[in-house]
Amino acid sequence: MELLKLQNLKMYYGTLRGDVRAVDDISFTMEKKDTVGLAGESGCGKTSAMLAILRLQPPNAKVSGEILFQGKNLLKMSDSEFRKNIRWKKISTIFQGAMNALHPTLRVGDQITEAILAHESRSKQEATEIAGKLFDLVGIGSERLDRYSHELSGGMKQRTMIAMSLACNPELIIADEPTTALDVIIEAQVLKVMKELQEKLGLSMIVISHDLSMIAETCNKAAIMYAGKIVEFGGIVKVFTEPLHPYTQKLIAAFPSILGSMRELASISGFPPDLLSPPPACRFHPRCPYAMNICRKEEPRYIEADQNRYVACHLVSR
């Protein structure tokens, strides 16, 4: 069964100079136990998409389209229903930069139990026990429940966030750049914890990152975003080994690998567009080496190129 289905999701930020089209008509579907990687460069709208799913968008954002979660449209839900039934209980998150995502003057344990108490009718003691188990699970140790966040190291904070995201046994976890700002070895440790939990608990996740390597390691599906649009979506192996969209091709080739033989790194000429006035038609055409006339005139449709492979490019649709 489909766990989450985005249909024509749009999110525009109203600014004085016009609408910034941060997310412009994206669609994808994920099943239970899927781990979808949402990849793209900074400012491509991946974090905005996450905020839209969590309904945490800033007040100047306009969201349209459909977000179907287990068949229910999240955007049509009332605030209180969404808050009580979906947030954390069904969909939880691991935020970017755990040092800021944890409250500075509340004990980390309390921050977890508070989430449990908000959604489940349990006693304070039970909640503390659950939190302790979660801490053991992510490898921090339940004895650290009464610490403040500033007393934990960066890796431990990130683990705390992971433990917190598991507090109410959610159906879906959205992780926004979960390992950015961590050192390589700590990052590997955290990723290992995430992968283990994924296997053990059968989690469904959306992982948002600018780092394709990280997505390659953790996900089974990947969505590549460029300038507010998903340009390619599909199974992780297919997307990485046989990329269809020129942007995906270039982006993957731009990532250096520590394994295998040395290869030339690809570069993409030009700069990412301003989402206030993105290029017309295909948004990638000014930087695309294969740009044709039609690319400048017509926006490519987002089509199913293969089974469960979606792409938006004139090269493919022709």
Partner: protein, 340 residues
């Protein structure tokens, strides 16, 4: 450096500050050229040989500087408990402490009422505005706060007098507030009546201080809260499905507690300033008015000025110390020495 060591350092510094203030306080009146005997005495009598010296002796004005200084320090640091109780007032020819003893409670009452009023109106209003960021309520609070910044308190007080006293009372005869002073004449009978009467007289002055100040408090609180509300941990709390109330009070407001404590201490100097003007305008016989009249050009009363300055400085320093303590309790992160 531990918190305890830090606190010990603060206490030592505080004591030094008080000492420094006391010394400056002494020096400034050495610099002042006027001779108090000039206005202590009837000009006729001043010609009487020896009388000036007698008076000067009585007030300890003939002693050498260092003796004066030591005596002065003794006077000050005994805090009015040991004689001669902050020295003799030139005006009343009595111990300064005796008069301060009944004036001080009046001032503390006034400032206490004003502070409590500001806090219980301003802070909730600020929270309310922050929770409604971007709405008209919020804009109104911001506007009022900015407005407060540009409006002299004494002008607000004059306007209130104009309205409540000149119009409502004196023109239309409706006596909501008394016309001035701190107690009715003749004095009411019985302790409770007296207390009530004093409170009634305090009401309008305190109210004016609240009116002139609450919007500033609201704006500060609002700004700090809005800052806190845009922090990532608030987004976390929201994503956790906590109610807006919990987010606002448990998460956002809790994180600004230390700043509120700081704000409280920083508002003290302003309050003291407010006392002088308010008491003068409303004719309250508190320390502020007393202080101002003691600075009268033709008839200055130095011992009073010195005593008041010293007591105020001590109070402010002590309050700052308390705030430091509070800060350490409220913020587990306390990074020593990096307050504010």
């Amino acid at each position: 450096m531990g918190f305890r060591e830090y606190l010990a350092k603060r206490i030592i510094v505080s004591f030094l500050v008080i000492f420094l203030v006391a010394t400056l306080n002494f020096l400034i009146f050495i610099v002042y050229p006027a001779d108090p005997t000039r206005y202590l005495l009837d000009p006729q009598l001043a010609r009487t040989p020896g009388l000036v010296d007698v008076i000067r002796d009585q007030y300890g004005l003939n002693e050498p500087l260092h003796v004066k200084y030591v005596k002065y320090l003794g006077n000050m640091f005994s805090f009015g408990i040991l004689p001669p109780h902050f020295g003799y007032s030139f005006q009343t020819h009595d111990f300064v402490a005796n008069e301060m003893a009944w004036r001080m409670p009046l001032t503390i009452l006034l400032l206490g009422l004003a502070l409590v009023g500001n806090v219980i109106i301003g802070i909730p209003l600020g929270i309310f505005a922050a929770s409604r960021r971007g709405t008209k309520t919020d804009v109104a609070v911001i506007g009022a706060g900015l407005f407060t910044y540009g409006v002299p308190t004494f002008f607000v007080q004059l306007l209130m007098i104009l309205f409540f006293i000149s119009f409502v009372y004196q023109t239309y005869g409706i006596k909501i507030f008394p016309a001035g002073g701190w107690i009715s004449y003749p004095n009411p009978e019985g302790l409770i009546n007296v207390m009530g009467d004093i409170l009634w007289h305090m009401a309008l002055p305190a109210l004016t201080l609240v009116v002139a100040g609450f919007a500033g408090w609201a704006l500060y609180t609002r700004n700090m809260l809005v800052d806190a509300l845009t922090q990532d941990y608030v987004a976390t709390a929201r994503a956790k499905g906590l109610s807006e109330r919990t987010i606002l009070f448990k998460h956002a407001f809790k994180s600004i507690h230390p700043q509120v404590a700081t704000l409280l201490t920083l508002s003290l100097p302003g309050l003291v300033t407010g006392a002088i003007i308010t008491e003068t305008i409303f004719g309250l016989e508190g320390v502020g008015k007393w202080y101002l009249s003691s600075l009268d050009r033709s008839n200055p009363d130095f011992p009073v000025v010195q005593a008041v300055l010293f007591v105020v400085a001590t109070l402010v320093v002590v309050c700052n110390l308390v705030a430091d303590l509070l800060y350490g309790v409220l913020d587990p992160r306390i990074r020593v020495g990096q307050r504010r």
